[in-house]
């Protein structure tokens, strides 16, 4: 099944996962690229996005699998036609004839920007390094069945750096588990609020940069 790599930035980050699927279904139609449809009572065009992205998070590494109904179109042409049919902020970067099995996708490189409106506290960088250097940082997570489970988030962070971007912002850059188990990067910002309330940022926002398999090879 063909796969495409796309980015989601700017105002498009506010589009939800389900809305994004519908947006792509329509974009394929506008681009004159008919998709195969599922079976069933009300057949829908089939597209599938690898790791659903939370609303508000930007990304340069989203994968979408699709299947064209009809003649194949060269990858480069498909990319151009789709980009003409998409909205600002959603952009196809690459089209592949075939992708790797999604189950081999396991790591995500991401940033969490921490904004302090009255300036970054002096002890913040060292404080955060200490926090994420601990053996165990427990955070509550809601399971699918609605139960609350404690999750040790540092066990899911393979690497992390803390750096000061400017006088009002810090940046966490981390390589984290994104499948079995999954760490939502916003949990790192939430952990600061829980364990170091004095270092709670005024605003935190997250970005996905790249995805890898378990051997840290870029995943496509």
């Amino acid at each position: 099944m063909p796969r495409l790599l796309f980015e989601k930035k700017g105002n498009a980050v506010w589009i939800s996962h389900l809305d994004l699927m519908r947006l792509f279904q329509r974009a394929f139609k506008r681009a004159g690229l008919p998709l195969t449809h599922g079976q069933g009572y009300n057949p829908r065009p089939q597209v599938s996005i690898a790791l659903p992205l939370s609303v508000g998070i930007e990304s340069s590494c989203e994968l979408l699998d699709f299947d064209l109904d009809g003649a194949s179109v060269p990858a480069e042409e498909m990319k151009e036609r789709l980009n003409r049919a998409l909205v600002e902020g959603v952009k196809v970067l690459e089209v592949y004839d075939e992708g790797r099995k999604i189950k081999h996708l396991s790591l995500l490189e991401c940033t969490v920007a921490l904004e302090y409106d009255t300036g970054v506290p002096a002890e913040a960088v060292s404080g955060l390094r200490e926090l994420f250097g601990r053996e165990e940082v427990l955070m509550e997570k809601k399971t699918k069945s609605g139960d609350i489970q404690n999750q040790n988030i540092v066990s899911m962070i393979r690497r992390m750096s803390v750096s000061q971007k400017d006088e009002n912002a810090l940046e966490l850059r981390a390589l984290i588990c994104c499948q079995n188990p999954t760490l939502n990067p916003m949990q790192m910002a939430a952990a600061i609020e829980k364990y170091l309330p004095d270092l709670k940022p005024d605003f935190a926002k997250c970005a996905r940069l790249e995805i890898y398999d378990n051997d840290e090879t870029i995943f496509r």
Binding site: G10, N11, A12, W14, I15, S16, L18, D19, R22, L23, Q25, R26, A27, F28, K29, R30, P34, H37, N42, P43, P45, V55, G56, A85, L86, V87, E88, G89, F203, K205
Partner: protein, 611 residues
């Protein structure tokens, strides 16, 4: 401001409705723009983006050189709260600029319960509520839509109204503003000139005086303002603007599909229906043009559904020709073709079978009244036999879901008419028992009743609304006669319809009520989550208004009505004749069986009424 919005967005539901940036959104370089219009829809994005009128006028204004029209919607409660906490004024989706910085602020008003949103949006934008407190040409506020056919409750707040279809008049209005701005006119100078455009009503140019009993004594035009304002219409729909490059929302809206209007006006003459009279005369659009536009919209938007809209689509003469062309196209491109408001005739039945969408939605009928007698009174030309025959066919075809919509409190209604609704529901069950091919799954009959609201420009514009207590008594009476598990009965709470009735036939004395209620938090009244009758009740009391004056009193035939100076084409004499026929239970056949002489054809100069 944009940075602030970015921080608020993660905290609210469905943030995509506040950002703009959809496919086909129109952006212009402010340096090339002379007139900026903030087009406000007084409800949420999901409702407003489903509104065809707004899509048309958005396109019409943006086709104008030097004019940029942007969209503004009412925020949901969570966003409104965040805006107030952060002093964030209402913004337009395209440029994210504050509404108060625009040259013109336009509202389109489709239903009375949006009035509170208009005032609330003006407050959120930081625009002075009263027209008299806005002194500059910049930021002039105007409004259109069906509610403009009785605009008096809003007279204090809106500088001028544009009556009727806006494709042509909006261009004339905005072009005049363009000139006024260039030549440095005052607001008064502009209002004087704009009032000369046919279809434009400037409320401050009229004085209302009242009799001791509270009825209107006179409507006095000042400074040579026209004595009557006639609504505008588009005569040639084939050559009128139609938005084939529609904005495709990036988030789900109420009617998430492409839309094609097949004709305007209505031949039916149901006596309670405001649109049926105020949208006359009937003007056709040719199937060739419609098919061409349908293909254009579908190819451009990528939508998977298109609906053929009008007040009564099965009355469109070209329906067979159009659907014969569209069905193969839609099948080939996997598009759902939806044809609402089909009637129970043979062709419609065949068409329904061909259309995929019917399988999803089941059958819906709006008999409106339970007995043939009362259906004759309201001139609803739908017989029990038609309903039952259509049901029989549908049940035989495997459907098992029927919705029946009625109104309670119609003129001359008796308990016998109320119980006729129950009888009809049982006849539908009996029909199912006789015709259903698969009885294992049972049958579901949904019955819903609404509280009749008399509307201006209809034969029932003089009628009394029954009291809320009487309405509830009739609801309970009906409910006590439903004992089958197959029937689900829902009735609307009376408060909203009573308020709707007050404003529908309201006058200028209601302005303070709107101001008071919105000051105390009234907004989003069309939403159960927010509608709070006690706010309105308090405001009505505080302003010394008697709600019964506008509702249960009824209006005298000799009385001056607040909307008398507005001419929608249909004559008052005709409405009165229809009222008297209703009282005698005499039907008026639809316009194709013979012209009933409503008068709306007088609005046409180039073409004939296509009824």
């Amino acid at each position: 401001m944009t940075e602030l919005i970015q921080r608020i967005l993660p905290t609210v539901q469905k943030p995509a409705r506040y950002t703009g940036g959809e496919y086909n959104e129109i952006r212009k370089d402010p340096a090339d723009v002379r007139v900026r219009v903030a087009f406000c829809f007084p409800d949420t994005y999901e409702i407003g983006m489903s509104n065809v009128g707004m899509r048309i006028l958005y396109g019409v204004m943006n086709e104008m050189d030097g004019v940029w029209c942007e969209r503004v919607f009412a925020p949901w409660g969570d966003m409104e709260k965040a805006m107030r906490e952060n002093n964030l004024p209402l913004w337009a989706l395209e440029s994210h600029q504050c509404v108060k910085d625009f040259d013109m602020v336009a509202f389109t008003i489709g239903y009375e319960m949006a009035y509170s949103n208009i005032l609330n949006m003006m407050r959120l934008a930081g625009i002075p509520l009263h027209a008299k407190d806005r002194h500059d040409l910049k930021g002039i506020v105007f409004a259109g839509g069906v509610c403009a056919f009785n605009p008096e409750p809003l007279a204090d707040f809106i500088d001028f109204f544009s009556l009727g279809e806006g494709e042509e008049s909006t261009v004339e209005i905005v072009a005049l503003y363009d000139r006024a701005k260039a030549e440095g006119w005052s607001k008064d100078q502009f209002l004087t000139e704009v009032s000369k455009i046919p279809g434009v009503y400037v409320p401050s140019f009229y004085e209302h005086t009242y009799n001791e009993d509270g009825t209107l004594a006179a409507i006095i035009p000042l400074n040579g303002a026209p004595a009557r304002i006639t609504k505008r219409i588009v005569e040639d729909l084939d050559n009128a603007y139609w938005p084939t490059k529609m904005i495709v929302p990036s988030t789900e809206i109420v009617h998430d599909r492409a839309n094609l209007e097949v004709f305007r006006g209505c031949i039916r003459g149901c006596r309670f229906c405001q649109a049926g009279f105020s949208c006359r005369p009937v003007r056709k659009k040719s199937p060739e043009v419609l098919y061409r536009q349908a293909v254009e919209i579908m190819e451009d938007s990528g939508n998977n559904e298109i609906t053929l809209s009008s007040l009564s689509t099965s009355d469109y003469r070209g329906l067979k020709e159009l659907t014969d062309q569209m069905i193969p196209y839609c099948e080939q491109h996997r598009i759902n073709l939806s044809v609402p408001s089909l009637r129970a005739d043979n062709f419609s039945r065949e068409l329904m079978e061909k259309l995929q969408t019917v399988r999803k939605s089941g059958l819906t009928f709006a008999p409106e009244a339970g007995t043939q007698r009362l259906r004759d009174v309201i001139n609803k030309n739908l017989t029990e036999e038609e309903i039952l025959t259509t049901c029989a066919n549908a049940f035989a075809g495997g459907w098992n879901n029927v919705k029946l919509y009625f109104m309670l409190g119609l003129p001359t209604e008796t308990d016998e008419d109320v119980l006729g609704i129950a009888d009809l529901a049982y006849k539908v069950i009996k029909t199912w028992k006789e015709h259903a091919t698969n009885k294992k799954r049972g049958v579901r009959i949904h019955v819903a009743t609404a509280y009749f609201v008399p509307k201006p420009h209809t034969p029932f514009q003089w009628e009394q609304q029954i009291t809320p207590d009487e309405y509830l008594r009739r609801c309970r009476l009906l409910k006590s006669h439903f004992y089958s598990k197959s029937i689900e009965y829902n009735y609307h709470a009376p408060d909203l319809s009573r308020l709707e009735a007050i404003f529908a036939r309201g006058d200028r004395r209601l302005g303070p009520v709107l101001e008071e209620a919105t000051l105390h938090g009234a907004r989003l009244d069309g939403w159960d989550e927010y509608f709070n009758y006690s706010i309105w009740f308090d405001a009505i009391n505080k302003c010394g208004i008697d709600p019964d004056f506008y509702t249960t009193r009824g209006y005298g035939e000799e009385e001056i009505l607040p909307w008398d100076i507005i001419d929608v084409g249909v004559s008052k004499k005709f409405l009165l004749r229809e009222r008297h026929r209703a009282q005698e239970g005499i039907i008026t056949p639809d316009c194709r069986h013979g012209c009933a002489g409503c008068g709306a054809n007088c609005l046409l100069k180039e073409v004939e009424c296509d009824a």
